[in-house]
Symmetry: C2
Subunit: 228 residues, 2 copies
């Protein structure tokens, strides 16, 4: 057995679709490029995969050094391979999506970028490379994933009200959901736990605070959402 020759291989990069949610708005984190190609254009954060690191490691490197984030939910999305997707040469990109609570981090532009900013998914600028396509797929994946897997809490504070969770689902799915039926479904699924405490300081009745049920029974949870 011989080791691999120094065959030429496509460049291998990781690109991240980082979702954040705040004030009833779903946003994505974008970088403004400092260099060609796509100078001064917004793109998804990313980096080349080093010889000795896994994709997840590359993701964390990007999150830490470029965005100052750590300990976020990450999931592989898809690998993009169009021949001409990068004008510098053949480059394959493995896309990941991340779910973040933007409250927990303050993003600042690293050396490589002019700027880093949250953009509401409804008001995206033109994106460089094929990043629009990557974003679209990530958005779809999030919409379906939230129906059968407990990922939504990654976007919220540790404690949250039923209304906040409800609004999050409506925002991501882009549909109206009956408040009371939503509540029952979520509770029946043992998705979340009532902490007994209440959120104070607001007008009106103080809502119960919930926390996600870490030891969620594995029995296939599926939110049977009516798309009205």
């Amino acid at each position: 057995m011989k080791a691999f020759q120094s065959y030429k291989n496509p460049s291998l990069a990781v690109d991240l679709v980082v979702f954040g949610y705040h004030n009833n708005i779903l946003s994505v984190l974008l970088l403004n490029r400092k260099e060609e190609p796509f100078k001064d254009t917004w793109v998804l954060p990313g980096a080349f995969v080093q010889m000795e690191e896994t994709f997840l490691h590359t993701c964390c490197r990007v999150l830490q050094t470029k965005l100052g984030m750590d300990n976020v939910y990450l999931e592989q999305l898809y690998s993009f391979d169009a021949i001409e997707r990068d004008p510098r040469g053949r480059a394959v990109s493995v896309a990941y999506f991340a779910l973040v609570n933007p409250q927990k981090f303050t993003v600042t532009a690293g050396q490589m970028a002019n700027d880093v900013k949250w953009f509401p998914v409804k008001k995206l600028p033109v994106l460089g490379f094929d990043h629009k396509e990557i974003f679209k797929m990530a958005r779809q994946r999030l919409q379906s994933k939230i129906l059968y897997a407990p990922v939504s809490f990654e976007l919220l504070d540790d404690l949250f009200t039923m209304t906040e969770l409800h609004e999050l689902y409506e925002c991501i799915l882009e549909v109206e959901l009956d408040r009371r039926n939503f509540r029952r479904k979520i509770l029946d699924a043992e998705y979340i736990v009532n902490t007994g405490t209440k959120r104070e300081g607001l007008q009106n009745r103080h809502p119960d605070l919930y926390r996600f049920n870490r030891k969620l029974s594995k029995h296939h949870f599926h939110l049977n959402i009516a798309t009205n």
Copy 2:
């Protein structure tokens, strides 16, 4: 803007999980390796991605040259990146799965392999590399995909009976499904079309022959299968 330097990049390969179905048995196509590493061991068919080709192109190359197949259903599965997955050095693999009607092709071992064979998914040999892991994920993906997308017909002849389709679903999902309820669901979904012809030459009543509905209405089809 400068082109990519000759940085060293991980090797990039495509591996294929080719599913075939016949006689109520779901099988996977495996190669027996002629060389180290994993000499004389069964593995998934695959190839390295050339600089100027897309993943799909690599897939087709493998299917044609190594297996003598063309025009099969292909879908990207996942990218595998464990550092030590290939003893020859760092190699990333983009896995695809394929759905094939084995009746349509006769597989013969190419130059690179000792042998090529269909293995029932219930009787798999030990697999080289991390191919067991890849296979498992493909199997799961097929199980879920068949519930919400019209892919099952890729495994059948153009014309088929309701019973044949029914048995296919039971085989893939590994559950028993009520014959009559299955029929109604499939028909309500306008999933298939009755051709008006019947399969003859059998004992008993001659069953209707169906064909898949190519112009399947896009309205989100979902087979609500009871897992009893």
